[in-house]
């Protein structure tokens, strides 16, 4: 269960990126976060695992107040939060296997990780995950030899091998073509269902957000302006979030829903 209470972030430049966000996410829910660039979506996600330090408020994961943790305790908590990045953020010169195993760094001591001696069950799990996403033969290839979609799948494995309670996903499809985007979103959704994972997914493609999430939160200028089911996204709501536009082409009509999936 993730609870955000009055989460606020003001940058040094004076920009107020998040204005007292209150949000409750029950276990196992897949939530899509939509909104224009600069609305605060990336900031919100990063304030949860404190890659960005919030100015005020708290983020509470399963009774643990993340915002108050010391750096050692924070590292322990980060282990329980898997993050998937917009530009994959894989270490390009390391192999696929090393990238996936680096998800276990929070659990493994320095010397073991230096010598690449990970526990047997970690290695086993890494192979299993790579097979699940269809990349088993690529295990020893360098990360920069893979295509965009393949790299994103490695990023997903890295996040999942942490055995997290929470998945933080930052624009997973921003650099991918339409078909690959759908495949990745479908994969993330399936994996969350399989494991009962809670997930927050930043996404700018409203259609994909509707197709692959159970709940949608719309952010504009650091405030929540919509919180509800995917069906509730009418053109009026989209105007409130993004501004005036011809929104009818973006939203899937509710009766066509079954045909798409």
């Amino acid at each position: 269960m993730l609870k955000l209470e009055n989460l606020t972030k003001r940058y040094n430049t004076g920009d107020l990126a998040l204005q007292g966000i209150d949000l409750s996410i029950p276990n196992g829910q897949v939530l899509a976060l939509i909104g224009p660039s600069g609305a605060g979506k990336s900031t919100l996600i990063r304030c949860i695992n404190r890659l960005v330090e919030p100015t005020n408020g708290s983020a509470i994961l399963n009774e643990v107040n993340l915002t108050k943790l010391s750096s050692r305790a924070l590292r322990k908590s980060r282990r329980k939060m898997g993050m998937i990045f917009q530009e994959y953020a894989l270490v390009e010169r390391l192999t696929v296997m090393e990238n996936v195993l680096s998800g276990r760094l929070g659990y493994v001591g320095f010397w073991k990780s230096f010598l690449r001696r990970f526990p047997k069950k970690d290695v086993n799990e890494a192979f299993r995950l790579l097979d699940r996403v269809g990349l088993l033969e690529m295990a020893d290839k360098r990360a920069d030899e893979l295509s965009g979609g393949q790299r994103q799948r490695v990023g997903i494995c890295r996040a999942l091998i942490q055995d997290p309670d929470l998945l933080l996903v930052d624009e997973p499809t921003a650099s991918l073509d339409p078909k690959t985007s759908r495949q990745i979103m479908r994969l993330i959704n399936e994996l969350c269902q399989e494991r009962g994972l809670t997930a927050i997914i930043n996404i700018h493609d409203v259609l994909l957000a509707q197709m692959f999430s159970q709940r949608i939160v719309g952010l504009a200028l650091g405030n929540i302006v919509y919180d509800g089911s995917p069906e509730g996204l009418t053109p009026e709501v989209l105007t409130k979030i993004y501004g005036e536009e011809d929104w009818s082409a973006t939203i899937e009509k509710v009766d066509d829903e079954d045909e798409e999936v």
């Binding site: 690449r116 990970f118 047997k120 069950k121 086993n124 192979f127 097979d131 295990a139 020893d140």
Partner: protein, 270 residues
């Protein structure tokens, strides 16, 4: 997928080695060890002399605190100034000559015979370190900063023209093509398409070369080419370590100033 059993996946994994072919890897490792043994054993080190040298080295380091900045005969001051002026002149002259040679050494600009000639000139001036050029310059032109100036200028040409040519060859052909399509003549084409692309890096390189030339100017004096090198040599041979320390600190100081100026200049140009 046929088997979903978990035991199908391996429990062990090792990172693949950097050099994949094992014979290559082993021959490099063994070769390096053999080389190290051979090299170290061929260095006849006179332990006796080294042990004698330690207290001398200690005296040298002690003389840095404090260094002797008093310049009784004004030679140090004169030497430093000479080095500075020598560095400036050589850099300017060297770059001035490098521009036509660099333009001629760019494959995308010059016809083949011009290209080959210029590349030859560049290779010739790069082969020998400036000190060797200085030795010959002293033989030809006599002792003094003029010889140093010749040596450093030649060295500058090798350095600058090569990098200029490389930069021109790496510049965007699309931009060059676009300017050519307007019907510009050759000089205009250089001025509008090539120059703006290579200019920022060339400015940075000029200051870098000024830095190098100043450091080299401190050295050519050892063989008679003027500058602070001769003074430093004398100070050492007379065991005037504190004066030598002072000279070294001045050199380091000037290089620091040059570096500071260069990073500012580069930021301003970007």
């Amino acid at each position: 997928m046929n088997n979903v059993s978990e035991t199908l996946y391996p429990n062990n994994w090792k990172k693949p080695p950097f050099i994949k072919r094992s014979w290559l890897r082993w021959s490099i490792i063994i070769g390096s060890i053999l080389y190290l043994i051979a090299a170290l054993s061929s260095m006849d080190i006179n332990i006796q002399r080294v042990l004698e040298g330690i207290p001398r080295g200690q005296r040298f380091i002690e003389s840095f605190f404090p260094p002797n900045f008093s310049d009784n005969r004004g030679v140090v001051w004169e030497g430093i100034l000479e080095s500075i002026w020598m560095a400036i002149i050589s850099t300017v002259a060297g770059i001035a000559l490098s521009i036509p040679i660099g333009l001629g050494a760019a494959r995308n600009l010059a016809p083949l015979w011009v290209y080959m000639t210029c590349r030859f000139i560049i290779a010739a001036s790069r082969t020998f370190p400036e000190i060797i050029l200085a030795i010959f310059a002293v033989k030809l032109f006599g002792f003094g900063p003029f010889a140093g100036f010749i040596a450093l200028s030649l060295g500058t040409i090798g350095f600058f023209a090569k990098l200029l040519a490389e930069d021109i060859e790496n510049s965007s052909p699309a931009q060059a093509e676009a300017v050519k399509a307007t019907g510009a003549n050759w000089f205009q084409w250089i001025n509008y398409a090539i120059q703006p692309q290579v200019m920022p890096r060339m400015i940075g390189l000029s200051v870098y070369r000024l830095d190098i030339n100043f450091r080299e100017s401190a050295v050519v004096g050892i063989v008679g080419g003027g500058g602070i090198g001769a003074t430093l040599n004398t100070a050492f041979s007379r065991y005037e370590f504190d004066t030598a320390a002072a000279i070294l600190l001045v050199i380091i100081g000037i290089v620091m100033v040059l570096e500071y100026a260069s990073s500012h200049l580069r930021k301003w140009v970007q």
